[in-house]
């Protein structure tokens, strides 16, 4: 491992002690140009390992009794009916659809707002520049454990006690929301110029004053951007929770239509609606990310 010397020393060393290259050769006496150190071997080993696992799994996977070719043909026919012939079949009106949309959006909005406020408070204790490192690490560890449980399982756990519905869905989704936002909020806070915080502390401001006069104004736009990005994720989560845990909204409608009524045209309407909303959210999220979030 070559150690970095100052430029001056290097310039002197090189002109005084220039040595010819020790060319390394392999077993067949051919010149070697690559050096196989850890950082080069590991990616290849990993890549080979993962690829072998994948090929093995593809062969031993359970394909059910499905004939792949027929199923694929069927899939494309389904896609055609869904995307090229969307229409409502009178089972529910457009109003019902809008209500379902409102439900899904509502779940996402409330989760994001509640989660955001909680996460901001937690972030104040997690950011390394304004908090004790022990506390910061403890919070990060707890968040890791929270994130390890999939959101759908969180929702199902809470459904046991308070039943299926908006309450369980929101609380369940909040866990990952808080874990995610605490992480990104604390990173935004850590990026604040330390001078601003020091200055306020130096003139004797109370802790809350520092928060509202220095921290919040400094990273407000970044925090709001992250909040919106999480809202986009929560919209998708709300659909998942609606479908798998019966919490209502577009996800629930979709699950009903696809597993009970098998109405492709209705599915088409729902899919287009979801696609439109997510696409718009994504565009806004990208713009916010570019404008307000400093790339770490």
């Amino acid at each position: 491992m070559v150690q970095r010397q100052s430029e001056l020393e290097l310039a002197v060393t090189e002109t005084v002690l220039a040595q010819p290259t020790k060319i390394r050769r392999n077993a067949k006496k051919k010149i070697r140009i690559r050096v196989w150190k850890t950082y080069r071997i590991v990616p290849w080993v990993l890549f080979t390992l993962l690829t072998s696992i994948s090929i093995y799994t593809l062969f031993t996977m359970d394909y059910g009794e499905v004939v792949l070719l027929d199923a694929t043909r069927q899939f494309f026919t389904d896609l055609q009916r869904i995307f090229l012939q969307p229409r409502l079949s009178g089972r529910f009106s457009f109003e019902t659809l809008l209500q379902a949309l409102g439900m899904t959006v509502g779940l996402a909005v409330i989760t994001t707002l509640l989660g955001g406020v909680t996460a901001f408070l937690m972030a104040l204790f997690t950011a390394r520049n304004i908090s004790h490192s022990g506390l910061s690490n403890a919070i990060r560890t707890v968040m890791s454990f929270i994130r390890a449980v999939p959101t759908i399982l969180w929702v199902m756990i809470f459904s046991i006690l308070i039943g299926l519905g908006a309450n369980a869905a929101i609380i369940g989704m909040s866990f990952h929301t808080i874990a995610y936002l605490t992480k990104v909020f604390s990173e935004s806070i850590e990026e604040i110029d330390s001078g601003v915080i020091e200055a306020l502390r130096a003139c004797g401001a109370s802790w809350w004053q520092v928060v509202f006069q220095a921290i919040l104004p400094s990273c407000m736009t970044a925090l709001l951007s992250w909040l919106f990005i999480r809202f986009e994720i929560n919209f998708t989560n709300a659909i998942a929770v609606g479908a798998a845990a019966g919490a209502g909204g577009l996800g629930f409608q979709l699950a009903m239509t696809s597993s009970f009524y098998f109405d492709f045209h209705e599915i088409g309407v729902l899919v287009y609606m979801i696609l439109a909303v997510v696409a718009i959210l994504e565009v806004v999220a990208i713009r916010l990310r570019k404008k307000y979030i400093i790339h770490a």
Binding site: Y39, L50, E65, A71, F75, D78, L114, R147
Partner: protein, 265 residues
Amino acid sequence: MDKTLNQDLFRKKKQFLFVTLFSFVVVYVVFSQFVGFQFGAAIAAIPQSFVWLFTNFIPTENSIQSLPLILSKLLETVLLSITATMTATVFSLITAIIGSETTGLNKGTKTVARVFASFFRNIPIVVWAMVLLLSFKQNEFTGYLAITFTTYGYLTRSFMETIDEVAGSITEAMTATGASYFAIIFQGVLPMVFGQLISWILFMIENNIRDATLVGILTGTGIGFLFDLYYKKFRYDMAGMVILTIVIIVIALELSSNKIRRMIH
């Protein structure tokens, strides 16, 4: 003059803060009503739930007996996640290379790549799963396809971003030497983005285990299905065991990923 400017700026920021918080409150109240969210009841449930969790989800003799089944399903889920991620990687890499600003072939491929990626990414995974269920029925392969589609959309965007961020300089340099397109890609671009690529792949594998659990509930496979089974049969001790194993595996994966990332740097 400066003082008034600063004061103005601060006043504007405070106004902005106030307006934002106020609109949040309004939005919250409106949606709470619409959705039927009862803050009090929900919050009260949290401590209750945790107590309930700890008493019911603690492993018992019964649940330990079901451990072999749980572990085999967990393994199934992990393998599914890896396979789907690797499949998606192949297609994503190709799409990203022909679609990025830096290495893209032409305006056409760049636009098509972006649209494709957005399409696969913006359709939530449950939607893909439900659509695929109609033709491929309930089995592992359906879950595999759903995860692969979503991962493809996500990775293509990520890869394109990485290529544009990191590989611009080497592409310019190698173009100036007269190297062929493929030489530039394989000898210049890929070595430059390799580390970040592996990072994305590891991240997706971790993430896909969670998605695989979700999709498993719908397709009747994997650890998600097992949890759902125990859950519906009120076997909360078994369900708790499932959660415990999931947590252990995810944390283990996260730690290994971090170690691998450090080794590759």
